[in-house]
Assembly symmetry: C2
Homo-oligomer: 237 residues x 2
């Protein structure tokens, strides 16, 4: 039975062997939720980059630019890190390419590239990722983007939700991180949004707009798509 | 109100500022539980060292030697890493100095030395450490030894138990790690030993002896002592 392990921070990735495994990279608030939303709205592909300057430079190659630093849209770019940027119609995104840089998510994606496949996970596409992982039937490492290298609740809850759905055909008992994430998920599942209102990250983003983002980002199974990160691009399988 | 934060792995310590704070180092299975037991049984002080050779060499200076590698007593030393080594009377420990090296605990102690005070924590001396921390009234970082750098449940439960006892006078809501540890503690508290039977570490140490150790190591408030690590030695305040 293949295993499902969880890495709570990109800083811990050197302790995990991703070779031969599927990595599911998650940054619920908000990078991977926005990436999933973008592709569901018809974005052609996204290029995640580490530096803001690199992101801005891609505008010259026809890219829309999306950038967030410390939870806010950066200066001089087209989009922030809210999924509603791809939904509200203010920027036409269908068919466009997007260059994206975020505090935590981009780093997690780049550090996960030794995996056989790097999947972009969010509650929004949970069922689609579950179906893909069942079909692959390989060991899984969920890579939580965390908050500046530290443990964060929202990514852990996603990992727990994924483990709960896969527990029938994957070994979710061999890792203390997975056992903890499952218990936290079971505590939070009755009302994920309320549970996350207490998290330090959500309180840090304390505003009407970010609560609206958070409530959207914890909706499960909205988009039936599996984005993968390969050859420097995030695109649909 | 001072804060209580938790670092789930020594690998994440570079993200934490220990200056001006009290570090509580914990390795429930079994280094810090054994250290607390040793001092309660009259050991004069302990010297934690990283290398087995360094540990063995201290025998020539009159030290008892205690060493564990991958959960087992190392060759050619007096004691393993079980607290019962200090209790069963086979080795006379009262008044002796002990050189100790363990897989995870020693590393966590050495990496925590930038803190104002480094306290050795275990369930066995939980109440004593709580009283000490209240008296200090400084920010706290609980440093979990983990398992080879990864998250582990037993150290997290201890951190959660500590946070639960201190929640009235310390801010335990500013860190997602603390919030998660509190929820895991509340899940496990009705029967900690049964909860830990599912953990990967306990199953790894699967034997009658290690279950006996585990049941001993989760007993709270047995010893009213506060060991601190200073000037290379662990000794009583």
């Amino acid at each position: 039975m293949p295993t499902l392990d969880i890495c709570f921070s990109p800083e811990l990735l050197p302790l995990y062997n991703l070779t031969g495994r599927v990595a599911v990279v998650v940054d619920i608030l908000r990078a991977t939720s926005s990436i999933v939303t973008a592709l569901a709205q018809g974005v052609a592909h996204l290029v995640p980059v580490s530096e803001l300057a690199e992101c801005r430079a891609l505008a010259a190659s026809g890219y829309l630019t999306a950038a967030e630093r410390d939870g806010r849209q950066a200066e001089g770019v087209d989009l922030g890190n809210s999924p509603f940027g791809y939904l509200d119609g203010l920027v036409l995104v269908r068919g466009r390419k997007v260059a994206i840089t975020t505090t935590n998510g981009t780093r997690a994606l780049h550090l996960s590239q030794t995996a056989d496949t790097v999947v972009v996970g969010a509650f929004l596409n949970l069922a689609a990722v579950v179906a893909f992982l069942r079909q692959q039937n390989k060991d899984i490492v969920v890579v939580c983007a965390g908050w500046k290298g530290k443990f964060c609740l929202e990514d852990t809850l996603y990992a727990g939700a994924l483990a709960a759905r896969l527990a029938d055909t994957f070994d979710t008992t061999d890792s203390d991180a997975t056992l903890a994430a499952l218990d936290l998920w079971h505590t939070a599942a009755p009302d994920v949004a309320s549970y996350l209102l207490k998290s330090s990250h959500v309180r840090r983003l304390n505003s009407l707009e970010s609560h609206k983002d958070m409530e959207f980002c914890v909706r499960p199974d909205v988009y039936d798509i599996v984005p993968v990160f390969q050859n420097g691009r995030i695109e649909l399988l």
